[in-house]
């Protein structure tokens, strides 16, 4: 009787032990993914499955609550329940940064592609980089932003969380963010990082990735990283442009830049700038007249140089680097303004 009991117990224990092993091994290996499942995976996770080095800002598990709070901080400048102080009384992040993909093919992130895709999807045409995929970058405040912010950019160049902090204080003219707020924004950025389906991969490339998942594969990593830029480069343009007599501007493009760019901040009722205007002839005549002078109000000057925050008037205009508005697009804008001021 007793031995029977012990035997049954042992068999039971054994069964449990075996089952628990079975449990462990039943965790899906990432390589048995369908194409659809792979398409929805985040690029960062796939890179780690390929044994790429984790970035400093790597977040192991996305927290839905943090994502929501990050979303609110980015869109409204504070939590919706208003339990924290506004980050800035002058700006919210979305005044300068989009939250969506700005080009069709991430490996061709030119100003022209941005404009074409932007017109198609009616995306704001803004001077700063989109938050979509910012999590996948490796360096921030690149290129000529050193000229503008000097040594302030150095700690941000390889650390995303420092870039967020610099932008809260410098770009948004606000207060330093607290650690939990920075974490929340980071979680939010993780929620809008690149997914495999954003990368314009061929079916062969997808198969190639699947084949190597779970193994250390620098080649696959390199292939994936060739599909998008790991930085947002920035080159400041010349504030004095000479438009040759045979130059032509595309008025349709200019209209888009004006309406989805300039008006994004300057539209009457927006309460972002103290210099508000609309798309009416008085505005265009005003801007056109200033074109002739190289004053601070002249459109090429303001686009390339922006304005600086002064005490008492802390809201300033961020400049458009060439990557965000190229020479031809500036000419398009000027032609549009001229065409409307008549």
């Amino acid at each position: 009787m007793k031995t029977k009991f012990i035997l049954y117990s042992l068999v039971g224990l054994l069964a449990i032990t075996i089952l628990s092993f079975a449990n462990l091994s039943s965790k899906t290996t990432i390589s048995s993914l369908t194409n659809d499942e792979l398409a929805n995976l985040s690029v960062q996770e796939v890179l780690i499955e390929l044994k790429d080095e984790k970035p400093i800002h790597y977040i192991h598990k996305e927290n839905a609550d943090s994502v929501r709070m990050g979303y609110e901080l980015v869109h409204f400048g504070q939590l919706k329940n208003k339990s924290n102080k506004r980050i800035s009384k002058f700006f919210v992040c979305t005044d300068c940064h989009n939250q969506v993909k700005e080009v069709r093919n991430l490996s061709i992130e030119t100003a022209d592609e941005r404009l074409r895709y932007g017109i198609k999807h009616q995306i704001p045409f803004l001077p700063a980089s989109t938050f979509y995929g910012l999590y996948n970058k490796r360096h921030w405040y690149n290129g000529d932003y050193y000229k503008k912010y000097g040594d302030l950019v150095l700690p941000t160049r390889d650390t995303l969380i420092n870039a967020i902090q610099l932008c809260a204080v410098q770009c948004s003219q606000g207060r330093p963010m607290q650690t939990w707020e920075l974490r929340a924004v980071l979680h939010y950025l993780r929620s809008i990082d690149y997914k495999i389906k954003d990368l314009s991969l061929t079916p062969q490339e997808l198969e190639y990735i699947k084949l190597h998942l779970g193994t250390s594969s620098p080649k696959t990593i390199k292939m994936i990283k060739s599909k998008y830029a790991e930085t947002n480069p920035a080159t400041f343009g010349d504030p004095y442009i000479s438009i040759s007599d045979d130059a032509v501007g595309n008025i349709e493009n200019g209209k888009y830049i004006f309406e989805k760019g300039c008006l994004h901040c300057h539209q009457l009722g927006k309460n972002i700038t103290a210099f508000e205007f609309d798309a009416e002839s008085l505005t265009f005549s005003f801007l056109e007249k200033k074109l002739k002078k190289h004053s601070n109000y002249s459109v090429p000057y303001i686009v390339r140089k922006g304005t600086y925050a002064t005490s008492g008037k802390r809201q300033y205009m961020p400049q458009y680097p060439l990557e965000k508005m190229n020479k031809q697009q500036l000419i398009d804008l000027i032609f549009y303004i001229k065409s409307k001021s008549k």
């Binding site: 009384k89 009457l268 009722g269 309460n271 210099f275 002839s281 008085l282 005549s285 005003f286 802390r314």
Partner: protein, 282 residues
């Protein structure tokens, strides 16, 4: 049948979609002296400094008084705050005019309707303001400042403003209201009903012309009071707004200029005034 269906759909469309709002019917919360339907943005603080000088011509004007610049008619320092998008409060200190001096005023202003591109055709704002005359009571029993108790020092003005931005250049406003002084001289009325009108015409992006007139219906002729008429222009630069006004009214606040205007345009008793506004985000 088809027609009724489309009408219903159109009406539904008009009511269900939020319309694009029309902003900047006027540049500031004041036209020249009186309120406009315009509101401050939420969290914005505005500081207004307004001056009015003495008579340009007439017996008190002319070269002797350097066309009025030597004697100040009124000065007002105002602090106004946009508590919400549609609710403003304000506080001001006036030098005051004639016998009503050292005046503190305060107001609350609510916007009920904002004009929309394809929706509501007008702006409608209600302003309730009050002033307290702070000077020492006069000992002259015929004086308007012969205060026997503090309540007599109060003046009230409630008005409804209706405006419409006709196009980028032209804005019109009419207002009706009730103005009440707790203490008046023996031959005057305490309560006055008034109607006013404003025309604003923007010549360029940064320059506009304005006229403002208020008519009191039950004014007692014998008091010698006049209806305040002002013409002026505005210079708009980002962050400040500068207006220059010519007016027979000496007072700057509505509690003063509605009933305390004795000057006559026809006798050269008009003056230059100006106001500078500066906005801050809080």
């Amino acid at each position: 049948m088809k027609l009724t269906l489309t009408t219903v759909l159109v009406i539904l469309g008009l009511t269900t979609f939020s319309q694009e709002k029309i902003w900047n019917t006027f540049e500031g919360t004041r036209v020249l002296n009186n309120h406009s339907t315009e509101m401050l943005y939420k969290h914005n603080l505005e500081i207004i400094i307004a001056h009015k000088f003495g008579d340009i011509a007439g017996s008190n004007g002319g070269f002797d008084n350097f066309f009025g610049f030597d004697n100040l008619a009124d000065v007002r320092f105002g602090f106004e705050y946009g508590a919400t998008t549609n609710f403003d409060i304000g506080l001001g200190r006036n030098k005051g005019v004639n016998q009503q001096t050292q005046v503190i005023d305060g107001y609350a202003k609510y916007r009920f309707i904002q004009q929309e591109k394809n929706g509501k055709p007008i702006n409608l704002t209600f302003v309730s303001s009050m002033a307290f005359v702070g000077r020492k009571a006069s000992t002259d029993s015929t004086s308007i400042a012969y205060y026997k108790e503090p309540l007599e020092r109060l003046i009230f003005t409630n008005q409804i403003l209706v405006s419409r931005k006709m196009n980028q250049r032209l804005s019109l406003q009419i207002n009706v209201g009730y103005h009440h002084r707790n203490l008046v001289t023996y031959n005057d009325v305490n309560g006055m009903i008034f109607t006013g009108g404003v025309i604003r015409y923007r010549v360029t992006q940064t320059f506009g012309l304005i006229t403002e007139y208020n008519h009191v219906w039950n004014r007692v002729k014998a008091t010698g009071q006049k209806n305040p008429l002002s013409v002026g222009f505005e210079l708009i630069t980002g962050g400040h707004n500068f207006t220059i006004v010519l007016s027979n009214g000496r007072g700057i606040n509505e509690n003063l200029f509605l009933s305390n205007t004795y000057s006559d345009w026809l006798k050269g008793q008009w003056r230059i005034g100006f106001s500078i506004n500066r906005r801050f985000k809080l």
